[in-house]
């Protein structure tokens, strides 16, 4: 071990001690919490789907519709951004502008973006759609741009040799090479958007999150457990379905 690694480890150990010392853990509250944790697990064994079913079902419907619309909007918006953020496709000023869009979208958490959109367009699922679409642009834009940068240049050159113009080159040389990956990324983002739609309701941006938050605040663990089970079920279903679609496309 070099002296430098030793020093870094020592500093890290010092940080750990300081961090652990600054934790203020209320032992009594935690002991009380363990009993409550048991109650929550009990809720999982007996989830209550019935008593707030109208709230739960409308929340889930909202989450699902938000997911679909936001993924589509995010996909459409991310295509030009991805093209601009690929170094082999765009001139430097456009490249930098698109990279800046991607960086902003990726560094802000969905919840923070949701707060701002709720102020701008009011409470409700539209704020959620805008939030998820904005977050999708950064995600899809970055990953798709990387894909475009790695395409086989020989095909592009072959198409160019036929005298094809810009849009034609794009359509016949670039699009076929990245389409399978684009489908995979979009399905992946669909999955993420659903998972995120389950929490942005906490700040008023629609979806099941508001219902979930309320359930916890009322200490209705059985209702909360029912919602969590529904979320996991949808995620599993989506993962299974997207695996199926991906195998067919690739």
């Amino acid at each position: 071990m070099s002296r430098r690694t030793g020093l870094i480890l020592l500093l890290f150990a010092g940080y750990l001690v300081a961090a652990l010392a600054s934790l203020e853990i209320d032992v009594e509250r935690v002991a009380e919490g363990v009993a409550r944790g048991g109650k929550f697990l009990g809720g999982f064994l007996q989830p209550d789907f019935a008593s707030r079913w109208s709230d739960v079902s409308s929340g889930m419907l909202e989450s699902l519709t938000m997911t679909v619309v936001a993924t589509l909007a995010g996909l459409l918006l991310s295509l030009p951004v991805a093209l601009g953020a690929a170094r082999n496709m765009a001139p430097t000023p456009i490249y930098l502008a698109c990279r800046a869009i991607v960086a902003t979208s990726r560094s802000l958490h969905e919840l923070v973006i949701a707060i701002l959109f709720v102020v701008a367009v009011g409470f409700g699922p539209l704020a959620g759609v805008l939030t998820l679409a904005f977050a999708s642009v950064g995600f899809l834009g970055k990953l798709l741009a990387e894909e475009i940068e790695e395409i086989d240049p020989a095909q592009l050159e072959a198409i160019r040799a036929t005298g094809a113009r810009g849009p034609q080159r794009l359509w016949y040389a670039v699009v076929p090479q990245v389409t399978p990956r684009l489908v995979g990324l979009t399905l992946y983002r669909l999955d993420i958007n659903f998972r995120e739609s389950a929490i942005i309701g906490v700040v008023g941006a629609g979806g099941i999150g508001a219902t979930l938050n309320t359930a916890f605040q009322r200490y209705e663990y059985d209702v909360a457990a029912a919602i969590l089970i529904l979320i996991i079920a949808v995620v599993l279903l989506a993962e299974y379905a997207s695996g199926h679609v991906r195998r067919r496309v690739m």
Partner: protein
């Protein structure tokens, strides 16, 4: 390849009639679904508020300028808490994820039942957002840093374990075989044949997750789980937009720095 006979002329087509009908129906269904979803959202939206958006946005910007720089001093402790939530949470997750990954990898799993249990742990940890874990843990343990650390840890176990078990499945079997042929026992094979091969990947994955967790830890406070999000929630609820602005700038700085640190560490690890 299907051929259509049109008045004696044979025309080659890419798809049969059934295939193109099915494709057309698929696209039609997709458009219908999206239209229905949009209609639903349209119905839930108060459009008067939306038309008002440019004015509201301008107003928001005016009210949040200039950011309340004097408030920065009071934010030192929340930033420290945020850092601790992300770091301690990641550490806890890494410690717990390593055995789960070895149980889940096909080439190191001791039994099929244990492998199934490990995979189930990974899936349930991954499909629940750390903020939802935060909601659960705040209800159980009360608001505070502890709930945040555990929320980060519970969400990260699945992430770290998944990437790690994929790395374990991709190792070179030759060193493992070499160690086995010396008569080493199972644990020795693990320690001398497998662990050295996945250690760099493990370090990289942990740092990568730490970077994501910084971002998550900045908002965990919105559900009461400690960190700078608590101040964000308070400032937002009291409509003190100058404070919101300075908090958001601070979060942005924190995320950018952590990303740079993580990139450097990962370069050093690989």
């Amino acid at each position: 390849m299907p051929v259509v006979d049109q008045a004696g002329r044979k025309i080659w087509q890419r798809r049969t009639r059934g295939e193109s009908l099915a494709r057309w129906a698929g696209w039609f269904g997709l458009v219908l679904l999206i239209a229905a979803c949009w209609r639903f959202i349209h119905g839930q939206t108060v459009w008067e508020f939306v038309y008002d958006a440019p004015y509201q946005t301008m107003d928001l910007m005016q009210r949040s300028w200039p950011p309340d720089v004097a408030y920065l001093g009071a934010l030192a402790r929340p930033v420290w808490d945020t850092l601790n939530i992300a770091t301690l949470g990641t550490l806890l997750a890494v410690v717990l994820a390593a055995p789960v990954a070895f149980l889940a990898a096909r080439n190191t799993a001791p039994s099929r039942i244990l492998r199934g249990a490990a995979l189930l742990t990974i899936v349930s940890s991954r499909s629940i957002n750390s903020l939802v874990w935060g909601l659960v843990l705040v209800a159980v343990f009360g608001p505070g840093v502890l709930a945040g650390i555990l929320a980060i840890a519970l969400r990260s176990i699945g992430f770290v374990a998944k990437l790690l078990y994929e790395a374990i499945e991709e190792i070179d079997p030759a060193p493992v075989e070499a160690i086995e042929s010396t008569g080493a026992r199972r644990l020795q094979v693990l320690g001398f044949g497998i662990v050295p091969q996945v250690l760099p990947a493990f370090a990289g994955i942990s740092v990568f997750r730490w970077d994501i967790n910084i971002r998550e830890a900045t908002v965990l406070g919105l559900v009461g789980a400690g960190g700078i999000g608590i101040q964000l929630e308070a400032a937002k609820d009291s409509l003190d937009w100058q404070r919101v602005a300075i908090i958001l700038l601070l979060i942005l700085g924190l995320v950018v720095i952590s990303e740079a640190v993580s990139a450097r560490l990962r370069k050093a690890a690989s």
